[in-house]
Assembly symmetry: D2
């Protein structure tokens, strides 16, 4: 109830602080009989983990997932899947300098005020390390809906944008560059820019676009649990996210209806897809696509003014190993959350059958 | 479970099609002893209802809410508040022409595919008339949190935007013009533009901005139920919404951390507020503000190609009484959904106390 | 959240006080395309309503259900089914004498303490009149699972018990006698006894037994939501219920394992059925049967000592029209709650399919 | 959703099979700032674990709980508490003989039918070993409500009953005898009887009574989530439970209202307490007491006929280390589930406050 669960049928509950013993979670409602591809799960973990390239944090986190239940002889059994991701590489002394201080635009201050206590080491529960559990669950969710293809990629870093529609991009380029941007020319510029930003001890924001292909018609529950409302919540629950738009998004708000409406083809598909694959909160079988805005990471390797618990403003030098730009590592997290939403609605949709 | 409930502690469940007997809902979890201001509730209904001015639909809907339970001698009793809003002005024959056809960018097609059956009259459950129940619940939610001030307004129509920060606007101007835009010069232009659009039988999109003031610190539940994630879901669940951003929003994604971070004052407030009043998913006491994108209404009073249930594309002339631009009437709905989210987190936050 | 909803997929939320405008509810998650038999629904309401015979209260309640949504051209549409049952025969002045007093073994005192306010007319929300909404929902649930047969009957009144196993009873006798006891000899005695009790201005308890036949294998969710745990909760939530046992029940606690175990037949059925059709919380295809204990109605038509809100004990003469024994009218309520549980698990069980 | 969570505010989700890596769970919604007594938690684990005395199974299970999150410097932080209980003493080969067979009155058959696959080792998820996680959570729940005293004890084994009301028992006797029966004369007989049963390779059922003292008034949520309905569900979800009654229970069903009603004292307490501390689903401040029936353990150390997956009935000799009577070890589990229910309602009740 306190917000650490996501989903209705395929439901993930997570726990763990960045510097505790381990992170982990429980997946309840995974259908039985799925031949789990454990390598594919670990591969998603590799995509998320720090230290993959020169433009992400050099922190080493092993992020090896250990399954404790719910799998028997390689198959899911229908019972809850418990798992842990041990924290093996924390350096708690790295963080002692923030014990009594609240960093600007971090969660330090509000956690202290809300709970009266906080695990200050590395951000504790507010650390993005928590997303490791989401990636585990999302990787399993993908295997519940193997025919549906979910692809996320970096679509902008700072002011550098991909200027093509997603249909013109070659998704096989995504994993071959450290930025995870399928437009290789833009990727080059982004990489260069991130390196500069890093040199300055600064950080920069960006956007991730996600495309869901081969969708069945009929997923999503009106009226409050519209498919895009759950996708929006899923994305906004990821650390550092500031905005979500799908289909025409904020551009739709500038348009006229006569330009915006998606005319039908005779087979029920549409000629255009400003609807973004969702109408009335229900998938219509066209591609779903949406865009997620990430703010720049708040931890700077510069001097900043911080507040301490005596109400004093003091200068503090940012330390530690942090990402200069979060979006390359956010790509698998966006995919994971999308997979959780789609798998959940896919299973829920089966309850409409009386036979 | 099928998506017609919203909230955890203060929970609204709604029912009703646009052309059935009545809409309505049940509010469960409203605290007892609240001296309900029924006039204030009905006033919110007036703000939402059609036929208020020349730029909204001339459909007459009385939208009179009838409370059936949960209130005794003017006070809430802690038991569920049941209410109905009778449908008194439906003209079902207006809609017989769409019985066998699916209008572009409407929910007709997906409802038929998902459920195998649909109440085609006026959109049935997918009609925005459903939001009447949300406004009732939201108006009561506002009375649960009387010290918190929630104000929404139209911030753009088509390409016409307010070009000032919300701090420079006079909110008392919102209700004095039919567009509900507090910048009266912009309001004038918007009104003019909507009239033109209406004359063309066309429609146009827009955005609504919402500001929440006098917020307590500590509302919102990490990690999945972050305050902005629930606000986002709430907004995206409103008909025609395509995007949501809060604080710096999509602009944050272009910025550097050194520009984006909100420095503290000694009292824990911040000098800037690109965080939008929320850090780590928890309110920090600063103003919350967010922006919601609405697409243009899909029903045009023009000829359009529609699909029929034999798989044929035929021309159809749009009929009926529809809004040329939905944002003026969306303002009270945005406020209602925001109030539901805030009241719910406000009550949930009390469960952290052991004494 | 405040306890007025029941079910996960097939979910009922109810509202209403005994002397308000109306009772009612919303059923969310009912599958589409069910050809609703409205006469069957109203017939269940007749079974529950007061004034059916000389041994139940002579209070007249019309209990006519009005459906407001979710049904189109006689079929369910998959959208929420809203309904009301108007309160047409309340005499509020009947109850003014209890305004400032708390009757023994009623909910008056605890409602006042919990909420600080109560609708004292006829018990308000704590009145068994609330079960009318359950009967509506249960009658629809029965139509979701038409092949499963749910039969409840009175198995004891006071010290008068049926002394045969249910297999030896003719269920067609249930509705032909006012006690709803299929053993006509016992029924006669029970009826006689209730009449005596009534003459004394007293009341008496009893038990209801319920048998669920033609069950599919596999319903119920371990570990917390075991099929019998949900049935138990469902029954214990009915007014005046004090106990629940299924299969061997409290007798099982006296037995040895070698006597208690149900040996298999080759087809997976069992030779005996002390398990009561449920093993490990999951239906095994054998008959489910359980027994529910109802205390005597607390309202006596005698003088009793009551507490008033000044902390004084005063004598009060019980008035009004009340049941001398609640179990005959409880029979359809027990069936309704059982139907809600089974329909819910039936639909939930579909989510285990990945194809 | 698949039934592995319990509670609304104080919510436990569990995972784990008897012969997997570990059992464990996540507690979400535990208030922050509680100075956890870890010794008290481990002590509850000792009370539940096998091998404590000659009348329980000699299986050794270390049952050491490891906390992974949610606790910082000895205090709860308000974030989810993740924990595991490693399985250290499984002998999987003990169970290979049941791989293809379904034991009578076990969950083997229904798990296979429901899921199409099962972890047959030691019962897998259906093993009572799962209750270890409940005891961890319950031990923490007790520390959330330190003023409320929850005491369970064995009230019968087979036909041997305590024949005194609980008020005449000395609860300090409970833990000093292996049966956990506070009536030492009865305890002696029970112990003797269990030893005989064990010698025969047989098992026997029993009942556990639980008393909750020092209850605040007002806990419990009408109408579906009545306090006793949740207690009933909680108890019925424990392995081997067949019945639940509270207050007068099944005896109430035989009584007259004039004998059953609990007259008030001037201070709002009652002279008798057949209500069992709950009226209308809400605690009235008097002691809550209830009784739980456990069937005899289904695993016999005798020859029994079992069904195999070819539809053949074959004789099989029961093996392994099993309890001849489950109730002594069920005592801490009953307390744990009661604590979970009470702590949850205690926290939920805070949401009725608007200030």
């Amino acid at each position: 109830m306190a917000g650490n669960s996501f989903g209705t049928i395929f439901k993930i509950t997570t726990f763990g602080e960045s510097h505790g013993e381990a992170l982990g979670g429980i997946i309840d409602g995974c259908p039985p009989g799925i031949d789990l591809d454990l390598v594919a799960i670990q591969m998603e973990m590799q995509r998320r983990k720090p230290g993959q390239s020169s433009i992400v944090t050099q922190r080493k986190e092993e992020d090896e997932v250990q399954f404790l239940s719910g799998i028997f002889e390689g198959k899911t059994t229908g019972t809850p899947i418990g798992f842990i991701v041990p924290n093996t590489n924390q350096k708690s002394d790295d963080y002692s300098h923030i014990k009594d201080t609240y960093r600007p635009s971090h969660a330090d201050y509000v956690y202290e005020k809300k709970y009266g206590i906080r695990d200050y080491r590395g951000g504790g529960r507010s650390s993005a390390r928590e997303t490791a559990s989401r990636v585990v669950a999302g990787a399993i969710a993908k295997q519940v809906i193997p025919d549906i293809k979910i692809t996320a990629f970096v679509s902008s870093v700072g002011e550098i944008f991909i200027d093509k529609p997603y249909q013109d991009l070659d998704f096989s380029n995504i994993e071959v560059n450290p930025v995870r941007c399928p437009d290789l020319a833009a990727a080059k510029k982004m990489e260069q820019y991130i390196k500069e930003i890093k040199k300055q001890g600064d950080t920069v924001g960006g956007t991730v676009t996600c495309v869901i292909q081969n969708m069945p018609i009929g997923l999503g529950e009106p009226v409050f649990d519209k498919l895009h409302a759950e996708l929006g919540k899923a994305m906004l629950s990821i650390n550092a996210v500031k905005g979500f738009e799908y289909g025409g998004g904020f551009c739709s708000a500038k348009m006229k209806g006569s330009d915006h409406n998606d005319s039908f083809n005779e087979d029920g598909t549409t000629k255009t897809n400003l609807s973004g694959g969702i109408q009335g909160g229900i998938s219509n079988g066209m591609d779903i696509y949406f865009r997620v805005a990430f703010k720049p990471v708040a931890t700077l390797l510069q001097k900043q003014e911080v507040l301490n618990n005596k109400g004093e403003l003091i200068e503090q030098q940012g330390k530690g190993r942090h990402d200069p730009c979060v979006v390359p590592r956010a790509v698998p997290i966006v995919e994971a959350m999308a997979a959780l939403v789609i798998a959940d609605f896919y299973l829920l949709n089966k309850t409409y059958q009386t036979k």
